[in-house]
Symmetry: C2
Subunit: 375 residues, 2 copies
């Protein structure tokens, strides 16, 4: 029987390289999880997602409970069978998406009542219901239901919000049915206040989780504050458990967070940017819709192994986006996810080689050269 | 050096099974050509198109001359290199699409002046310019520039229109640069009038083409009139040259036309229907958006070899269409093109086995059973 395990194989400063074992297979860390919001990584087949190098994908509890419905996915045997993804899946708790509904939600100690953005139907989410939904989805990694503290927030507001999340974390732990290979992660909150982050990290460890996430970042605070908050948080997390920075981020954010001891990431950036024609390369972020690409016979990145870069020119991709052709979104998403996975592979290699600082400096230098095209 | 050749390997009544050799490879006939309007078969990679069993695809001169432009594709080395399709390509002449612009076009003996539906830019198409564009696109099979006779049309109108197309056919022949492995096809017109069709077929043979298309059908005349017009046309075409029925059609139309001696087909039906959630199966055409599919764990067609049917349930595909996910269009298109290519393979096999009549009756019986769901 597979156990949920985290093996750290190499360290480099605060950074770690290793593997997580789950019910549906292994995750190489540091890991980037493509976002599969509505039971699909947009514009990609699961086989293509695997080819990019992804070991694990993320599903969104909020979207899936609304459509097609958690009980329905349960009847299909869970999210893996439903969407034909054989590897591990992490699901978020729904808290963050409900938080972004603002006017449509009502919160109390029990949980959140809200109306569907699709058809206005009333729904309720609580720690217990979130855990139940993630169980129906058959998530390998279930996230505790929390409140995402707004930014900016006073220390008082951030403290009250974090402490509510800690009471909810306790209820999540009680509701979660432990099974071999499955895990429950707690989420550190506390806004941008280091002492609140420390309090939250300790509260979660008192409850005891299989992994620890850092939530409430990448909410508009800027990279410097993200990094300093990480520095105030990570040292208070157990050294032998995976650490997941939620919703982050740009390639430079990921490199900086790995340097600070983070093992897991998710972000819509590579997929969403792909669908709008923003292409990541080591030297620049290209906006392929710009007219200057129309006659360019070069690939987006000559060194990239993805189908877009192996088989097509910038001029062709430009044409696909001008003509609003689906293949444009397909190829650009494939490229961006490949770029992200190759970055993670390079980070793992740099950690194993004890050369992460040099890699990060080189990456920073490349990023500084990069021209980011206006949209 | 590859020559353009058509070898008939088997006959069954008027039907023929064989192969066409072109500069970019072989086409098994009877053949169905997926439509790649804007230098992409919508929602498909070229590799996926090949996996469905397609040997050749069709490109649209009208759309490509407007965007990205014929001279531009020429600079990219032609349509094959531009869109990464290694097999043969047939391009239409642009005539049919310009015909459908109605108010935006002005026609005279030389050709047609029209405004782009994209940005209103003025363009001119003539027999010479159409051939030049198709040369820039590097089409393996170039179609003569013709006028699509309206339907219904009086015999007088149909005769005048057909004779204009025959004068244009002569100019196309003169403008076409013959190269090994490349072909120019003439197009029979004449509306629904058998004597005009015969006159047109003979006029084209006097000029001399590498293949002969039947144009001006599938314009709303109904299947019975399509078939009777074919019966009045095909016997007047040379027996040793490929015959192409343009823009047809539904599976039953294709079976009936193969019985009447047609070798090649194109139609947007499998791709366009795929994007709207209409799925072809031997027993029914499913509208996957219907609520009754939401909880159905069965594949669309258990006997189908496509990725949709091997890996996903009707319930999942229903969800993708309800959520407007790109993967829905990708998988449904893949399925429908597989259905069409497997139909063509079955037709080729039935001809080789001398059993086409029985196959057609069986196909008709299946089609009669089929429930076609309302949209």
């Amino acid at each position: 029987m597979t156990r949920f395990e985290f093996d750290i194989k190499a360290r480099c400063g605060a950074a770690r390289m290793g593997r997580i074992e789950t019910a549906h297979g292994e995750i190489r860390t540091p890991a980037f999880m493509p976002v599969g919001t509505a039971a699909t990584v947009k514009a990609m087949t699961p086989e293509a997602v695997t080819e990019t190098g992804a070991d694990i994908i993320l599903g969104n509890t909020y979207h899936l409970m609304l459509r097609p419905g958690a009980e329905r996915i349960g009847r299909f045997g869970g999210l893996h069978d439903f969407m034909h993804w054989r590897g591990p899946i992490l699901t978020d708790s729904g808290g963050f998406q409900v938080y972004s509904l603002s006017d449509l939600r009502k919160m109390d100690e029990d949980g959140v009542t809200f109306r569907s953005h699709i058809d206005g139907t009333k729904f309720h989410l609580s720690p217990e219901r979130s855990i139940e939904i993630q169980h129906l989805l058959d998530a390998d990694i279930t996230m505790a239901f929390d409140e995402c503290t707004p930014y900016p927030a006073t220390e008082e507001v951030a403290a009250a919000s974090m402490r509510l999340s800690m009471r909810w974390a306790d209820r999540c732990r009680a509701a979660f049915v432990q099974r071999p290979g499955y895990a429950l992660f707690g989420i550190v909150q506390g806004g941008m206040y280091g002492d609140l982050r420390e309090e939250s990290a300790k509260a979660l460890q008192d409850i005891g989780f299989d992994g620890y996430a850092v939530g409430g970042l990448a909410v508009g605070e800027g990279q410097a504050l993200t990094f300093s908050t990480l520095e105030a948080t990570v040292p208070h997390l157990p050294a032998d458990r995976p650490r997941y920075l939620m919703g982050v981020g740009r390639p430079g954010d990921i490199v900086g967070a790995v340097l600070r001891g983070i093992d897991m990431f998710d972000c819509v950036m590579p997929t969403r940017s792909g669908r709008t024609g923003q292409l990541f390369t080591p030297h620049a972020t290209l906006n392929i819709r710009n007219a200057r690409h129309a006659d360019d016979p070069r690939p987006v990145d000559a060194a990239c192994r993805c189908p877009l870069c192996r088989n097509y020119s910038r001029g062709y991709l430009h044409h696909l986006f001008k003509a609003k052709e689906i293949l444009g979104s397909m190829l650009a998403t494939w490229h961006n996810l490949t770029y992200y996975q190759d970055l993670m592979a390079a980070l793992r290699q740099a950690i194993a080689a004890g050369a992460l600082e040099a890699f990060a400096k080189h990456h920073g230098a490349l990023a500084a050269q990069g021209d980011i095209e206006p949209v």
